[in-house]
């Protein structure tokens, strides 16, 4: 236990010092995110993430949004296991034919009003996979999309920015 405590003490609060390359952007986005979420979502934006066919690259970056560096919870957003609690669906793509029904059902399970944000080049327009017998292309081919966050994959900073834009 003493080791755990000393490691925690030694680490300090890492969400404070960001690398200079990204600090201004994350800070700026964060402040506006927090403000928007406070006003429009009563301080709590709940997100359900759906992988509708991605290569797992976008998922890694969405995970990274939750790490202690970006710590998206400090801005009032958090991820939920159930679509029933969600305000926003964060969907990565392309939508595969085999995931189409599951995606539609998840969308239907989210209470209205709801936002849908497509993540990654593939989520926006099918990306390198395009449209084929197995891939239906971008998320908007299957469910209505409110905003897109391009990138392959979009970095945590870009993701935070994209979600902010979708909320505004």
């Amino acid at each position: 236990m003493i080791r755990i405590l000393s490691q925690i003490f030694r680490t300090g609060i890492v969400t404070e010092p960001l690398h200079p390359d990204i600090e201004t952007e994350v800070r700026g986005t964060g402040v506006r995110l927090e403000e928007t979420i406070r006003k429009r979502f009563r301080r709590s934006l709940t997100i359900r993430q759906v992988d509708a066919g991605s290569c797992n690259g976008c998922e890694l970056e969405i995970h990274a949004m939750n790490n202690p560096i970006y710590n998206c919870e400090q801005f009032g957003m958090h991820f939920t296991a159930s679509p029933r609690f969600a305000d926003l669906l964060l969907v990565t793509g392309p939508v595969t034919r085999n995931m189409e029904i599951a995606l539609r059902r998840t969308y239907d399970a989210v209470p209205s009003p709801k936002l849908v944000v497509a993540v990654g080049d593939c989520g926006c327009n099918g990306g390198i996979f395009g449209e084929s017998y197995a891939s239906l292309g971008g998320i908007d081919k299957v469910i209505p999309v409110d905003a897109c966050i391009p990138g392959c994959p979009p970095s945590p900073t870009v993701l935070l920015n994209g979600i902010l834009k979708a909320l505004q």
């Binding site: 080791r3 755990i4 490691q7 925690i8 680490t11 890492v14 690398h19 390359d21 990204i22 993430q49 759906v50 992988d51 509708a52 066919g53 991605s54 290569c55 797992n56 690259g57 976008c58 998922e59 890694l60 970056e61 969405i62 995970h63 990274a64 939750n66 790490n67 202690p68 560096i69 991820f79 296991a81 159930s82 679509p83 392309p94 595969t96 034919r97 085999n98 995931m99 599951a102 998840t106 990306g127 390198i128 996979f129 395009g130 449209e131 084929s132 017998y133 197995a134 891939s135 239906l136 392959c152 994959p153 970095s155």
Partner: protein, 524 residues
């Protein structure tokens, strides 16, 4: 060894295929009725099945080809048999190698060739609502045409009896992970059977390759499994380079190895943290998440991409590293290894964590061998497999200088899979330092010519999950006729089904995380 064994039994009945590259990988053609017999010979020679796949060779006027790739130590042997297009069947290998069953279900589903004697004839990847005659990998199939949905049902394995109940999970999981369906049969808390249903992220990747040029192919290879983008790109490039007899500059190889080890460290750090988190020890997740983020940020600054995507290209690499980059990595590794050492001690000395990870989700060495698993899963269950040692590219081939030590444990539990990762992180840190120290000067890329028609190339690369195999075949117009991708997950998913048996349901996430297989790399 495998080659000699095959010759001693088959004699002149086995023809050698000279169009297979590199020369170190033997390919031989046997008559169709001897295909399963060859598997028997391989099994007797202690070989493991590495992959099984089919090709459509109608463009050459040959019908179909069925291939089985065996591995023994560093030796790979490909056994091929030819199947006429109007009589599409082949003898199943499933009774010799359990792992063949899923490969063959996939061959049947996507190429429409029947494995005779496979006890499981249900489709795989191909869902029940696909038209029965949709075989995407056949040349006659129009990949761009959307498929209609038809009515159908999947025959799940059932369990009956007093107190038996079922838990269906997925495809949309509770966390931020890829989609797949798991169906448990349980009595009380104990899992008595787990059936996996994968294929939800099937994007038609192997078919897509056939419409791309050789240069475009590497971009797709880098997006088969986003967490393994470097290893997949290297394997694709190496398969192509052997076909074109391209001499990649030494420095490019070394930079590839640098990327590969950085990818290994980043993913292992994430995995160790996630395993601990699933045992309710979130401290490690956040601590290791911090270290992982450090690696990714350095990647972005030095190589222009957090996961180093698209930096490995045919003929070499797209970005070099200079003296200041080298210093930056060395400084980063210094911080990393100090913090990591402390965290490992905490992992090791925490009894509540130990209680969860030890003796949980055991895959015994016998089972691991039977299922032919690879990579970290194999090394945690007593199988000494690592392409970096047995099938190395430079600088791994200088073993007397690198002295790479691969951890092999025999307990096969969650702890073993975590501990293998811990040891590998330390080893990768050491290797990166050595690579940076002795990296040769010179160019980083060389032009790659078109492969000759009707040739094939093979490459196996040790990604962080394990061995990745690419097998490329050129068509009559020198285009991509077939690109077979074998992610380690294709073999290791079977291991999870066995490892969770007799464990309690709440331990499934922990077992699953300790395997952490790719869905996208498996479904393709």
């Amino acid at each position: 060894m495998l080659k000699e064994a095959l010759i001693s039994v088959f004699g002149s009945e086995a023809r050698f295929d000279e169009s297979q590259h590199p020369a170190s990988v033997t390919a031989c053609i046997v008559p169709r009725d001897k295909f399963a017999e060859a598997a028997k010979v391989m099994k007797k020679s202690y070989a493991l099945l590495a992959a099984e796949w089919a090709t459509d060779e109608t463009a050459f006027g040959r019908g179909h080809g069925i291939f089985a790739c065996y591995r023994w130590g560093g030796e790979y042997l490909i056994v091929k048999t030819e199947v006429p297009a109007d009589d599409p069947w082949f003898p199943s290998l499933a009774k010799k190698f359990v792992a063949a069953s899923r490969f063959e279900r996939q061959i049947q589903s996507l190429m429409g060739i029947t494995p005779v004697g496979n006890p499981d004839s249900r489709p795989w990847i191909k869902f029940e609502d696909w038209p029965a005659d949709a075989w995407p990998l056949r040349k006659t199939f129009d990949a761009l045409k959307p498929m209609p949905r038809v009515k159908g049902e999947y025959a799940w394995i059932r369990a009956e009896g007093e107190g038996v109940y079922e838990i269906p999970v997925g495809p949309v999981h509770a966390g931020i992970i890829e989609p797949g369906h798991f169906r448990f049969q349980a009595v009380g808390e104990d899992v008595i059977n787990l059936e996996e249903r994968l294929g939800y992220v099937h994007k038609g990747i192997e078919k897509k390759f056939e419409s791309l040029s050789w240069d475009e192919g590497v971009r797709l290879a880098g997006r088969i499994s986003g967490d393994t983008t470097v290893a997949h790109s290297i394997a694709y490039c190496m398969a192509l380079e052997t076909m074109t007899v391209c001499m990649v500059p030494e420095r490019a190889h070394w930079i590839r190895a640098l990327f590969l080890e950085r990818e290994r460290i980043a993913n292992h750090l994430g995995d160790i943290g996630a395993i601990c988190n699933d045992a309710a020890f979130a401290f490690m997740l956040y601590q290791l998440g911090r270290l992982k983020e450090m690696i990714l940020c350095t990647n972005l600054r030095l190589f222009g991409h957090r996961f180093i995507m698209d930096r490995v290209v045919p003929g070499g690499v797209a970005i070099d590293i200079d003296a200041s980059g080298k210093e930056e990595i060395l400084t980063e590794l210094e911080v990393l290894s100090k913090d990591f050492e402390r965290l490992v001690t905490i992992y090791d000395e925490n009894p509540s964590l130990e209680d969860r990870v030890r003796d949980t989700g055991i895959l015994t060495p016998e089972q691991a061998r039977e299922l032919c698993v690879v990579g970290i899963v194999a090394r945690a269950s007593g199988l000494n497999l690592d392409c970096r040692i047995f099938n190395p590219f430079p600088p791994y081939d200088r073993q007397d200088w690198m002295k790479l030590e691969v951890p092999v444990l025999i307990s096969g539990d969650v702890h073993a899979r975590a501990w293998v990762r811990i040891q590998e992180v330390k080893e990768s840190v050491r290797i990166i330092r050595k690579i940076l120290e002795d990296m040769p000067a010179g160019g980083i890329i060389t032009p790659v010519s078109q492969p000759a028609p009707d040739t094939s190339g093979f490459a196996a690369v040790e990604g962080w999950r394990g061995e990745i195999i690419y097998w490329l075949q050129s068509g009559p117009l020198c285009e991509i006729n077939r690109c077979m991708v074998r992610d380690p997950s294709s073999l290791n998913w079977l291991g999870l089904e066995l490892a969770v048996l007799d464990n309690i349901v709440p331990d499934f996430p922990l077992c699953n995380k300790s395997f952490n297989q790719s869905y996208s790399g498996h479904d393709l």
